[in-house]
Amino acid sequence: MNAVFKEPPSTGLYAPHRKVYPREVKGRFNRLRVISVIALLGLFYLMPWVQWGGRQAVLFDLPARKFYIFGLTFFPQDFFLLTWLLVIAALSLFFFTALAGRLWCGYACPQTVWTEIFVWMERWTEGNRQQRMKLDRGPWNANKILRKTAKQTLWIAFSLYTGFTFVGYFTPIHELSNGLATLSLGGWEWFWMLFYGFATYGNAGHMREQVCKYMCPYARFQSAMFDRDTLIISYDAARGEPRGSRPRAVDPRSRSLGDCIDCKMCVQACPTGIDIRDGLQLECIACAACIDACDEVMEKMQYPKGLIRYTTQAAMEGRKTRILRPRTAIYGTLLVLLVAGFFWTVAHRTLVEVDVLRDRNALYRRLDNGDIENVYTIRIINKDTTAHEMSLRVEGLPDAVLDTDAPVYLVEAESVASIVARIRAPDTVRGGRDIEVIATATDGSGIESRAQARFIGPAGT
């Protein structure tokens, strides 16, 4: 499967960097990317402003150790759900890569999406490809200073707003904007705003394709998911070669030429600065800009479109492309199972959880009547949107009783109650014993939650 990749040039990873001036293209794949950019960034910038049930719909309230996602509240105890979600994300990436190659890179990766916006701003201020190249070559005159200043101003303002939005996912965004307006923000808010803003500016403004080439791990291993039926962007060498310029009216076959007029539009359009006609390369992020560029030329030449196109290796070899194959079937099945399981788990997760922490200072205490006492801090985590009255008891140790200061505790909605509990057992207990602490709702909601714990008595048998 690696055979489709061209050998990297011997200069390798550390080739001197040439600035890439991607040419603007029009076409269906560019339209698709514009839609994707607007949808994804729109979601990112608008989501923190959406309110749900009287508070921010999506808020990762780290200081309170609670995540709010629409009607649901997640606690650190739900961490496995996040891990689960990351596994689903990784598997989706594998699935879509096996099916359609680097779709992620071309249309959805934050690096691509933000770079696209930054390139738009560059075009508004510095003009098209030729104008930008001329401007960079030219002397620092008033025009250049004005245009560069305008670009930097737009970039920096946009980056700062991006940093502001990012922090808005962690600090309620209304609070954040008020704090910003009155300059009363905390130090960490400022710091993370500038940190994320600077990262956006650096990655989307200056690093661009170098992030994909030097920094992205996915770019290095995505070929492992490729096979002969994976959608790739390919130049049809059989149809295009031998390439060469010709007048429009001339039949290329009469001059023994292929359909490629060697106009280099595909090279100029490439945001990573490669020539797709050299074959599939590691640098190709499958953005399809070269397809759009070439189709436009083919149309002008009145040749059929698709000299560069989305295709598969199988199709190029004249065979049928199989969408359903062991690789996609396995990825797909796993993905469906994991997603279904995830939603089932979220829907059926326990609304109240119990955490038992042993007192750190003493193993056990002997009471005046000879009984043995262990002290615990019991935390009742109420993830429900209503408050619950809970009582505690112990099981697993004969004649043991659990004693708390109050018989029942009211645990407010979406909050954690810390309760000091004393468990007492007769003097006959020796060594460590496994016990279970049970919290039961006394408000008729039928909620019950259990937690394992350890009771420790004097050494002996």
């Binding site: 200081p63 710091f191 030097y214 920094m215």
Partner: protein, 88 residues
């Protein structure tokens, strides 16, 4: 610093950043920064959770960066034994 050292430094900083993000996420999912320390009250250098998270993140970043840098250094300076040279 030549271009190559610059790029190597970039790789070290970047790879350790990713490691630190993962470590911070997992660590603080299980440990409340305010419960760090022997006593019932957290140490003075963790006045609130935000500071705790940030310090934790930079600590992990530093540790991961040291590890990444050491890895890069050892790979860079290893002896050129032909039997292990993959570029051949």
């Amino acid at each position: 610093m030549n271009k190559r050292t610059q790029l190597d430094t970039g790789v070290v900083v970047w790879a350790s950043f990713l490691g630190a993000c993962a470590a911070t996420m997992v660590f603080f999912a299980f440990v409340d920064p305010l419960l760090i320390g022997d006593d019932d009250s957290p140490p003075v250098w963790i006045p609130d959770r935000k500071t705790g998270y940030a310090l934790g993140f930079f600590f992990f970043w530093l540790m991961c960066a040291l590890s990444s840098a050491l890895t890069a250094f050892l790979l860079e300076t290893r002896s050129t034994d032909p039997s292990t040279d993959r570029s051949l």
